[in-house]
């Protein structure tokens, strides 16, 4: 982080003000861990970033047909339509879990058929809704080949190191999301020897930090993972699960959660439970969407743009 960045960075209060806008399409540029609001989506996309652009979609819940959205496959189709229409074609897509609603073969089939229309490589991590069949075979067969344990792995793209983690298995009564010792040991080894200047993107289903304990929105041993990531200059943590945009910055780590493509969930504490939130029909698509992430080579910046299906 340079002092120039510091001077141009917003105050903590300004960041918090911007956070409430994130869901409606504010571009975030991350410089050394301090996000700077750059304006609305259209301006940002017009800037034609050079470097790596990738896309995050999350919580498709294909098969969901309850009042909050009777046609989750339909809104996934609209989301993929937005992906295809992007002015800058992303290099690949990550899906942060809950592809299906009930881990049924037809749900995975429908999701795959729809998502493949984007014609992009997709890197998946599972959500708890993807592991509901006996022994969680379906997810592993379709998306987990070559991955370790319950489906964690890492890869590199344009100098950025990507790490997909699984925090939805072996959950303990009364607890939160869980990574477990085996995965944490793998993570420590995966990061060992890497240059601290290498930008890191970590993605997992449940927020890696404690977003709202009362609703189980957090990862029990997430702090251990963050301990291994502390020495890196640029760390971006992308999660799903909570079906709304939430952003937090801690040191060099930026945490960001994506919109769902299926149904919104309430803001913490504003409803009796985190269940699907029924909103007026014309409002639904303003609360669903995709996330565009751009890394510009050289200046260590990651820009995160949330794009609702409808503004």
């Amino acid at each position: 982080m340079t002092s120039e960045d510091d001077n141009h960075g917003p105050s903590r209060r300004k960041v918090l003000e911007c956070m409430t806008w994130a869901g409606t399409g504010v571009l975030w540029t991350i410089a050394g861990g301090v996000p700077t609001s750059m304006g609305i989506i259209d301006q940002a996309l017009a800037a034609e970033p050079k470097g790596l652009t990738f896309l995050q979609i999350s919580d498709s819940h294909v098969g969901f047909d309850k009042p909050a959205n009777p046609n989750a496959l339909g809104t996934l189709e609209e989301a993929i339509g937005r992906v295809k229409a992007l002015p800058v074609k992303p290099s690949f897509m990550i899906h942060t879990g809950d592809i299906s609603h009930l881990s049924k073969v037809k749900e995975f089939d429908d999701a795959d058929q729809m998502i493949s229309q984007a014609r992009l490589d997709v890197h998946y991590v599972p959500g708890e809704h993807d592991l509901l069949d006996d022994e969680a075979k379906l997810y592993k067969e379709r998306y987990g080949r070559g991955a370790k344990g319950a489906g964690w792995y890492s890869f590199d793209a344009n100098g950025v190191h990507f790490i997909g983690l699984v925090n939805v298995v072996n959950l303990k009564a009364g607890g939160l999301g869980n990574l477990g010792d085996e995965q944490l040991e793998w993570l420590e080894a995966d990061l060992k020897g890497r240059s601290a200047s290498a930008p890191i993107v970590v993605f997992a289903h449940i927020p890696l930090w404690i977003a709202y304990k009362e609703w189980g929105w957090g990862t029990e041993d997430g702090a251990r993972a963050l301990e291994y990531l502390k020495r890196f200059g640029s760390v971006t943590v992308l999660n799903g699960h909570i079906h709304q945009v939430m952003q937090k910055v801690e040191g060099n780590v930026t945490f960001h959660t994506a919109l769902s493509t299926a149904f919104p969930q309430p803001v913490p504490g504003t409803a009796p439970s985190p269940g699907p939130m029924k909103v007026a029909d014309d409002k639904l698509r303003t609360l669903l969407g995709i996330t565009n992430v751009t890394f510009k080579q050289g200046d260590q910046r990651l820009a995160i743009v949330d794009q609702p299906l409808k503004t």
Partner: protein, 121 residues
């Protein structure tokens, strides 16, 4: 209880009384001895703690728009994922305290306290 029975004289009264008892016996189990149940809604088990006697079958019903499971912390029992309106039953034969949770949303917890049948200990 008033009953219209198309029989004449004394015999009809006896029959009516018999019928009344028969009706009460038939109705009683449904009205007064309902199988204990736990409702799952708003990401909670209701009631969170339920006391039953050994041999009782407990039914859980999911009334949320999101699937849940019923999983014993000691792996004594575990349901499949219960979609909306799905039910799961388990018969508790041995006295003890059975803690359970939703393995998908582990902050959801509950317990079943199983007491020995009266006179059997």
């Amino acid at each position: 209880m008033v009953m219209e029975v198309k029989f004449a004289g004394h015999l009809s009264k006896v029959f009516a009384a018999f019928l009344a008892i028969a009706v009460m016996v038939a109705v009683a189990p449904a009205a007064y001895a309902e199988e204990p149940s736990v409702k799952i809604d708003n990401f909670t088990f209701n009631p969170p703690s339920l006391t039953v006697t050994a041999g009782t079958t407990v039914t859980w019903k999911n009334e949320d728009d999101i699937p849940h499971t019923v999983a014993s912390t000691t792996r004594a029992f575990k349901s499949k994922a219960l979609d909306t309106d799905d039910s799961y039953t388990f018969t508790f034969t041995t006295p003890g305290v059975y803690e359970y949770f939703c393995s998908i949303h582990p902050h959801m917890t509950g317990k079943i306290v199983v007491e020995a049948k009266t006179g059997s200990n």
